[in-house]
Symmetry: C2
Subunit: 241 residues, 2 copies
């Protein structure tokens, strides 16, 4: 597998059925992983492939606003873990009774267990004052960076590497820990490590925290509220009803 995809120009043609199935497999088997990381280190070549995949997301005005801070040192992870614990203690007070018990039983991060942590940022001033395509919706640079994160997540799944997104962190404090300059925005703190297998469904679904919404409830035809039901053969049924 080449580190530099540009050396092997893509052919741009159709995907075979097995190729298409592999893409869907990565999408459906990607999980937010917080436990059971293996101790095996992530090979630099695999990390390079994953970050190169992230870097090949589209971006508004080809701005490429992302950066990746790769953390391996135990001391740094320990400090970030403390930031999580502080924020999580504040978050836990929002729940009461059974829900509070369930909340406290959930494992919401794997910062210290994961061999590599990656902080993904968005440099909002990259590309100058006027970025093509960004004048109307200023946050499109953030959206682009999230697309890069999803590329990273799917590439990692294909490599057998689990990724967990720690969202319960004070980003201001995290920036001070990692030396990230003030104008640069933190978007994600990710924990990466090989796992022996991936869960068949999201942990919050398994834990009974929330159910998956049937996709047809989220599809509107022509205008908001105009729902259609897709039948088993993929035909919309009741479109316009």
């Amino acid at each position: 597998m080449s580190l530099q995809p540009d050396n092997n120009l893509p052919n741009g043609g159709p995907f075979s059925d097995p190729e298409r199935a592999a893409v869907y497999r990565a999408i459906f088997e990607r999980r937010d992983v917080r436990r059971n990381f293996l101790r095996a280190p992530i090979a630099d070549a695999a990390l390079s492939r994953i970050l190169t995949a992230a870097h090949h997301a589209g971006s508004v005005g080809f701005m490429q606003p992302w950066d990746f801070v790769v953390v391996r040192e135990e001391a740094t992870k320990r400090t970030v873990k403390q930031l999580f614990q502080e924020s999580n203690a504040q978050a836990a007070v929002h729940y009461e009774g059974v829900r509070a018990t369930l909340y406290r039983s959930l494992k919401l991060e794997g910062i210290e267990e994961a061999p590599i942590n990656i902080c993904v940022t968005c440099s909002r001033q990259r590309g100058g004052r006027h970025v093509l395509g960004r004048s109307t919706v200023r946050d499109t640079d953030i959206y682009s960076t999230c697309c890069a994160i999803q590329n990273l997540w799917l590439a990692a799944r294909a490599e057998g590497i689990g990724v967990g997104w720690v969202s319960i962190l004070d980003h201001g404090a995290l920036k001070r820990v990692l030396g990230i300059p003030r104008p640069v925005k933190v978007l994600a703190y990710l924990c990466l490590g090989y796992v022996s297998d991936f869960a068949t469904q999201p942990e919050l679904e398994t834990a009974g925290w929330r159910a998956r919404i049937p996709v047809e409830q989220l599809i509107h035809h022509e205008s908001w509220g105009n729902k259609a039901v897709f039948t088993s053969d993929g035909q919309p049924n009741g479109k316009g009803s």
Copy 2:
């Protein structure tokens, strides 16, 4: 290919080399497509697969905040195209001289040429007042929706369907056109259609608007500014320098 991935539970195991290569192929060959859409309609089954792929992104607190408004009617596309033209006229004044000429030569949308347009939204109040994992960073619902968009984009590539993200649109006006309620946020307006082939590099790179940044310039080790150069065998060289 099953419409309902949950009927074929994923196996969770490792990817074969061809499967892994297919995932990278989708990532590296995904393009922001604005031209050369074929007239062939998108089969409902393919559309269902793509939207189901989007729906299988991870989301903060398993919130699943996204909705998809699927637009096929010419009259609606024409109205949205007018919104684009108004916003683009405002955007074009930021450029002067050669850059202005180049800007005006770029094709920035394929709203009317694409058989299907999809508006992707984020329902920020879905899941109630306290969404697990969202108390510290409130915009994580937006980040989740962007991850869903990237799933959609990659699944579409595997289906031979090009996707173009139109970012030059007044989202307030777009919401009125599509009847989207006030609390729901528009994130993306996408144009989808089959294409005979995908360009080998981003159009803005081909047009000389901006170059791709070498990925090693975007990777920091342990803390911001601590760059490493990956050599051709994927080994970091000069880490800590």
